[in-house]
């Protein structure tokens, strides 16, 4: 255990925890925006898989990693359009249609991978960029040498918070999520607001997939292994507030990084690391129990809007 508690190892673990939190953060922040407007999207995992596959394919074909991120975003936009059609126009049950989107994403990304790529092929990784001065601090400089996508994810935290709190659009989002009838009577187009939040949420899920696959450098079927579902849970965990959602995402990234590090350092046995792999999900269930009844979900969550 003593070899874990050295500054360099702790800092390295913290740094990789921050890196691992990136896809959670993108996906969960996007889901936060959607849920604040009253739309639950359980299909995040499927959208992430699709975003990851198309980003990976783009990176393999063109070698351009930023184009790959853009393609991940575009994939999310397309899926967002479909999800909006399903939930806003057809007013389908959101929990179930999300599972439909998940299954489609799981199957279609697998199918495309086998047809278009076939065997594991590696891409380059997004380069780390040093933050001037901060990265030069001795001992902890490593924390400030991350990929631009990771910085982007953390910049999204205040950005989403400001969007929801300080802009007219954000006020509309919250109004639509709490009391769509009242918002409608004041001339806010409920479905147009929700369309926008669905598009934002899904494109962020697409970027989350791209971030995941560019970090892993290789795609495989079911790459996410439920990460998207955990991102949805993080929104509850974070009580629909971007800052708390970020805390949750960081916690998950850190737990994951610590377990990996302990395994590498042989501090824990293989058996224990299998047990530790349950930690994030167990943690989520415990958090849900603690938070249930203490935090209030947006009142109109999962309820389609019907004008009376």
């Amino acid at each position: 255990m003593s070899e874990f508690f050295t500054v360099s190892v702790l800092v390295a673990t913290l740094a990789s925890g921050i890196r691992l939190a990136t896809p959670y953060l993108f996906a969960a922040l996007g889901e936060t925006v959607g849920q604040r407007s009253g739309v639950l999207n359980l299909g995040v995992d499927g959208v992430m898989l699709l975003g990851a596959f198309f980003a990976h394919w783009t990176a393999l074909e063109t070698g351009n990693l930023w184009l790959a991120v853009l393609v991940g975003l575009a994939t999310g936009l397309v899926m967002g359009g479909i999800y909006a059609l399903i939930t806003l126009y057809f007013k389908a049950e959101q929990g179930i249609s999300g599972i439909g989107i998940f299954l489609f994403g799981l199957g279609f990304s697998d199918l495309m991978f086998e047809v278009k790529i076939g065997s594991p092929k590696f891409t380059k990784q997004l380069p780390d960029v040093d933050i001037p001065f901060l990265a030069d601090i001795p001992e902890i400089g490593e924390l400030f040498s991350q990929s631009l996508l990771t910085y982007g994810a953390f910049i999204m935290v205040p950005a989403v918070a400001l969007l929801l709190r300080r802009t007219t659009f954000g006020m509309n989002v919250r109004a639509v999520g709490e009391n769509p009838q009242a918002a409608d009577s004041l001339g806010v187009s409920v479905n147009r607001v929700r369309l926008t939040t669905i598009l934002i949420g899904n494109s962020m899920a697409g970027v989350a997939g791209a971030a995941l696959v560019l970090e892993a450098k290789v795609f495989q079927p079911n790459l996410t292994q439920g990460l998207g579902f955990i991102a949805v849970a993080l929104v509850y965990f974070g009580a629909w507030r971007p800052l708390y959602v970020m805390a949750g995402a960081l916690l998950y990234g850190l737990v994951q990084a610590t377990v990996i590090r302990w395994k590498v350092l042989d501090i824990i046995s293989r058996e224990f690391s299998d047990i530790a792999a349950m930690a994030p999900a167990v943690l989520t269930v415990v958090a849900l129990i603690v938070l249930a009844g203490r935090v209030q979900a947006p009142s109109a969550l999962t309820k389609p809007f019907e004008r009376h």
Binding site: F90, I96, G107, V115, Y236, M278, I289
Partner: protein, 377 residues
């Protein structure tokens, strides 16, 4: 008319899903016609493929019937994957500990262990929802992840085949389980085993419980209106736990059947739940939705989706279209089925409007409901 619309809309959803499949096939450079022929032939072509389809349909049917129970109580159970794993684990442990119990006792025992394991894993989100108001969609999904990691742990350490450790290969699997627990084959030379009739019986039982017992009545009452049910003195919380426990029990039975109906006669993991369950916990939702969330209609519906899974395998052989196609198609079917409620509403509204229009524009008085009585001459 309304009834006809009700029956036609799911079919339209299926047709729309197949159109999507045709587009995907075209896009992959395969002929849709050849594709569908290979699929149907592979799924329903001969006795062998029909038995294979029935075997693949078994977990879908059990999960689907179980999900119908929970949905009738307005509880969404997305925890099928985890409950299947829990049932499989407990039944495997029973078979490992009592290998010499005679067959007529051991088979019921391992099936019961599956029911208990799945029921327990299902009851957890039930208790959490009823007594701590934890959203069951999230808790069931998280419990899926917990269950599969626990399966990995159990198969890598306590339950691993001792020979795997000796040989140093350490494949995460149990030793070959007792033959006394193996589900007997019903038709020689095919894969059709006792699990298929067990599943059908369980689905019928689910129907009977839901519509012919006080417990089922309570569940459906809670599903219609928890407030009204509470006012009528129905224990709402206990009913929610019961709904999820029963739903989980059906999934757990599916897990036991998956283990003891498998060719290898052992529990093995590839690290994901789909590797063992074939995503039956999710695909069963599709079968249940397509069967209108009715346990009896889920029987033909799951046979159809079992056929899709077997057919996809021969599609892969014939046209090199990956079998993952079936998963994608399942997703598309879900989306179309859940979207079709709106279509049904729209069509019904159109029919009503049409009648209204006819009445309003028709100069003739509306036809009398009874023949006027002729005055006697």
């Amino acid at each position: 008319m309304q009834r006809i619309v009700g029956a036609v809309v799911p079919l339209l959803a299926a047709v729309a899903a197949f159109l999507c499949a045709a587009i995907i096939l075209l896009f992959l450079g395969a002929s849709p016609w050849e594709g569908f022929t290979a699929l149907v032939d592979g799924a329903f072509g001969d006795v062998n493929s029909l038995s294979q389809t029935a075997v693949r349909a078994t977990p879908l049917l059990l999960v689907g019937a179980g999900i119908s129970i929970s949905f009738r109580a307005s509880v969404i159970n997305i925890g099928g994957e985890g409950q299947i794993v829990a049932g499989a684990l407990l039944s495997t442990i029973v078979a490992l500990n009592f290998p010499d119990v005679p067959r007529p006792l051991l088979i019921p025992a391992v099936m019961l262990a599956g029911v208990i394991g799945g029921g327990f894993w299902g009851a957890i989100p039930g208790v959490l929802k009823a007594y701590a108001s934890v959203n069951e969609i999230l808790s069931t999904i998280m419990l899926n992840i917990v269950a599969v990691q626990f399966l990995n742990y159990m198969l890598r350490s306590p339950l691993i085949d001792p020979r795997e450790i000796e040989a140093g290969t350490r494949i995460p699997q149990t030793e070959r389980l007792s033959d006394n627990a193996a589900l007997p084959t019903l038709i020689d030379g095919t894969r059709l085993h006792l699990g298929v009739p067990i599943a059908i019986a369980a689905a019928v039982l689910a129907y009977v419980v839901l519509w012919r017992t006080p417990l089922g009545f309570r569940l459906r009452a809670v599903g219609h209106s928890p407030d009204a049910a509470k006012a009528a003195g129905i224990p709402v919380k206990r009913s929610i736990v019961a709904a999820l426990a029963m739903s989980g029990a059906m999934c757990g039975l599916a897990g036991a059947i998956l283990v003891f109906g498998s060719e290898g006669q052992r529990l093995i993991t590839d690290g994901t739940s789909a590797g063992f369950t074939g995503s039956a916990g999710f695909n069963g939702i599709v079968a249940a939705l397509f069967g209108g969330l009715h346990p009896l209609w889920t029987i033909p519906s799951s046979f159809l989706f079992g056929g899709l899974l077997t057919g996809a395998t021969s599609l892969q052989r014939a046209l090199q279209v990956p079998a993952a196609m079936a998963v994608a198609l399942n997703g598309i079917v879900v989306v179309f089925v859940v979207s079709s409620g709106r279509v049904r509403e729209r069509i019904n509204a159109m029919v009503d409007a049409r009648k209204e229009f006819d009445r309003a524009t028709n100069d003739d008085p509306p036809p009398p409901t009874h023949e006027p009585v002729e005055a006697p001459a």
